[in-house]
């Protein structure tokens, strides 16, 4: 059997086999017609794709971390965010090429399982599922910090710290809504992203002018790297969560119109947009206050910075932006996480039941539960930095393997491999992408590394226990 006709095969412990994808023709980029004649509408355009990428990324990463990052790396924290952007771009390019060759739901999991096989696929699929769970928890704790700050500012004092409680309540609400909500949240997401970009642009315009000395008092210049180069890299590892999200564009590849053009533009474009915003924002924040003072404000440092520019109105604008951003990121991550579960279940690497849809609401209730419940358990831990780092580690492993997948595909191109977009100088880009993705993990905290390794070992164990006979390599 040649690779072009190879199909997913084998059966798992429950006797289920992978669902073979039917041959399909894409007509004018707006619909996928399967062999049986059933039509699957493609409904997401370029703007929708960018909104998914930007909306998932602009979240707790930029609203929670500037204070902490400045405390660790000084003004060079802006450089830490820039390092993250370069790594994200090195991965976004290979991911774009693979996504245009395989525009299927499942994103990174799909490429890795098809080019490196079912074991690597299971590890990546489970990692992706849990990475998004950890990320959602991190966003919800971020939401909690902002909501607590709102309470504090309106003068409500509680006998306990409300951060975790507020995160839990909102997480439960979001999960509940995702079961029953048939409203078009994608349209809402577009508006949220637009509002966020406007608020951040105003913040940057004023703050930038002030930092460069056009408005207000000039701030005292500070050493760029007060603690040396090492903390800049460890901070880059910490704040990398801010870039998790561009790969989510690939998980909706099956629904994107004209994927050959829109997928690469949405993925690379969203990394560039948020990267530039992040670097500028941190630069402005560290210029407004010294980094030591910024660090003392903790998770809501951005609110203090805005307050120093415009008084209460600025603080309110950033509070609103922070609440919107963390909620939209958490919501997008819970939904993407359920898609990862679906992709695993479709390939018989997880029980079929996991992808069941209830007819009344049309929502995948089992997969959403598998995303929502662990998210709430992790929110209860309240460990911002660990949650963020574990989310990053699990995604970075997938990113590294995506780059390896590209190298494997290109070295021995199968007949069906015909991407609309090809990465220029691919061995360099994909090689650097893989090295930097795996390399960044080394700079994270020991606890996060241990949790990440345990998750991956458990995923491999699951594969050997449940689905070792399933074969996916080269199966389209």
């Amino acid at each position: 059997m040649s690779e072009s006709t190879a199909n997913a095969s084998g059966e798992n412990r429950a006797g289920e086999t992978p669902v073979a994808d039917e041959l399909e023709t894409v007509e004018d980029g707006d619909v996928t017609v399967t062999e049986g004649g059933t039509e699957l509408e493609r409904t997401i355009g370029l703007v929708g794709g960018l909104a998914i990428g930007v909306g998932t990324m602009i979240g707790a990463g930029i609203f929670v971390f500037p204070g902490i990052a400045a405390g660790q790396a000084g003004p060079a924290a802006a450089g830490s965010y820039a390092i993250g952007m370069v790594i994200a771009l090195l991965v976004a390019l290979p991911a774009s090429e693979l996504a245009t060759a395989m525009p299927k739901s499942g994103g990174g999991y799909y490429f890795v399982s098809r080019s490196l096989g079912a074991l690597a696929g299971t590890v990546v699929g489970v990692s992706l599922w849990l990475s998004l769970v950890f990320a959602s928890s991190f966003y919800l704790v971020g939401f909690g910090s902002y909501a607590a700050e709102v309470l504090a500012r309106v003068g409500i004092t509680l006998s306990f710290s409300p951060t975790v409680a507020l995160g839990l309540v909102f997480g439960a609400l979001l999960t509940g809504l995702s079961f029953t909500g048939t409203e078009n949240t994608a349209k809402l997401q577009n508006y949220v992203v637009a509002i966020l970009l406007v608020i951040l642009s105003l913040f940057l315009a004023y703050g930038g002018a002030s930092a460069l000395g056009f408005i207000g008092e000039s701030s005292t210049p500070e050493t760029f790297m007060p603690f040396g180069a090492m903390p800049v890299v460890t901070t880059a590892a910490l704040v990398f969560t801010s870039y998790l999200g561009f790969a989510q564009v690939a998980t909706v590849a099956g629904e994107i119109k004209n994927p050959g053009r829109n997928l690469p533009l949405a993925m690379v474009g969203s990394v560039l947009i948020v990267g530039v915003f992040y670097v500028c924002t941190v630069f402005v924040a560290t210029s407004a206050f010294g980094s030591a003072k910024l660090a003392s404000f903790g998770e809501t440092a951005m609110v203090e910075v805005a307050g120093s520019f415009w008084g209460p109105a600025g603080a309110i604008a950033i509070l609103v932006a922070g609440l919107l951003a963390t909620v939209s990121s958490a919501n997008a991550s819970i939904m993407s996480s359920s898609r990862a579960v679906f992709a695993l279940s479709k390939d018989a690497l997880a029980p079929k039941k996991a992808s069941a849809i209830n007819l009344k609401y049309g929502t995948p209730h089992v997969a959403l539960t598998m995303a929502g419940v662990p998210t709430l358990l992790l929110v209860a831990s309240g460990e911002t930095e660990i949650l963020a780092e574990v989310a990053s580690i699990l995604s970075l492993v997938m990113y590294g393997l995506i780059c390896v997948s590209l190298l494997a595909m290109r070295r021995d191109e199968p007949e069906w491999y015909d991407p609309d977009f090809r990465v220029p100088a691919y061995p360099v880009v994909a090689g650097l992408g893989a090295l930097s993705s795996f390399g960044l993990i080394a700079f994270m905290q020991r606890t996060s590394q241990i949790v990440g390794v345990v998750v991956m070992l458990a995923a491999a164990g699951w594969y050997y226990y449940y689905a070792r006979d399933v074969s996916l390599k080269g199966a389209l």
Partner: protein, 226 residues
């Protein structure tokens, strides 16, 4: 040959009643069974789980049309945006009209209101093709200030619908929907032209949707061709 599209929410209990099978037996029918998924759900996932069930129901509908002496083809779609799917299939299958299914028991009385700057000629030609040589009563209703009695009468006569009766009520344009809904209970089917988009439609929803909702019966909207 005249062709109509019948979009049906196939998994949500929407169906086609006997009167509509009979009414549409003179034209080619494309039955579009669709299932609209929310953002949380990939269309592919819904297809995997519901395709067989949906296809079985669609086949049932096709037999219904065949038993009434008509001819129907079926299409099945899983979509995140039903409107986009219906618009796309209408163009792809080159349909002349879209049917909003509603309850119709018989097939002998048609109401043809002219409203919303509709194209009289296109609508009348469609009605003539639908009626064919059957004994169906056609009642035309002029609600459109821009359209004169002579214009409608001439179009009806030219299309061979000279027995059709014609009532003019241009003063009720403001509340055309209520006027149509009041009358529609006595008819089996409402046929109207595709209205030009107006501000109030943007606010209250499509005119034809509101007519279908208030009159409870099926409504056929004839596409404006340019």
């Amino acid at each position: 040959m005249t062709k109509v599209l019948v979009p049906v929410k196939i998994l949500e209990g929407e169906s086609v009643t006997p009167g509509l099978f009979d009414l549409l037996s003179t034209v080619d029918v494309v039955v579009l069974g669709y299932y609209e998924v929310p953002d949380q759900t990939p269309a592919e996932q819904a297809k995997l789980q519901f395709e067989e069930r949906a296809q079985a129901k669609l086949d049932e509908l096709r037999r219904g049309f065949a038993d009434a002496g008509g001819d129907a083809e079926t299409r099945l779609a899983f979509t995140g945006e039903a409107e986009q799917t219906i618009a796309r299939v209408t163009v792809e299958a080159d349909c002349d009209a879209i049917v909003h299914p509603g309850v119709a028991h018989d097939a002998d009385r048609l109401l043809v209101p002219f409203v919303g700057r509709a194209d009289v000629g296109t609508v009348v030609d469609f009605v003539a093709a639908l009626v064919g040589d059957r004994d169906i009563t056609v009642s035309a209703l002029g609600l459109d200030e821009a359209v004169s009695r002579e214009e409608i009468r001439n179009a009806l006569d030219a299309a061979g619908l000279d027995t059709a009766d014609l009532t003019m009520q241009p003063e009720s344009t403001g509340d055309a929907i209520a006027a149509i809904a009041d009358l529609a209970v006595d008819y089996d089917l409402v046929v109207m032209g595709e209205p030009k988009p107006t501000l109030s439609e943007w606010v209250f929803g499509d005119l034809e949707d509101r007519v279908a909702r208030e009159s409870l019966g099926p409504v056929v909207v004839v596409r404006a061709r340019d």
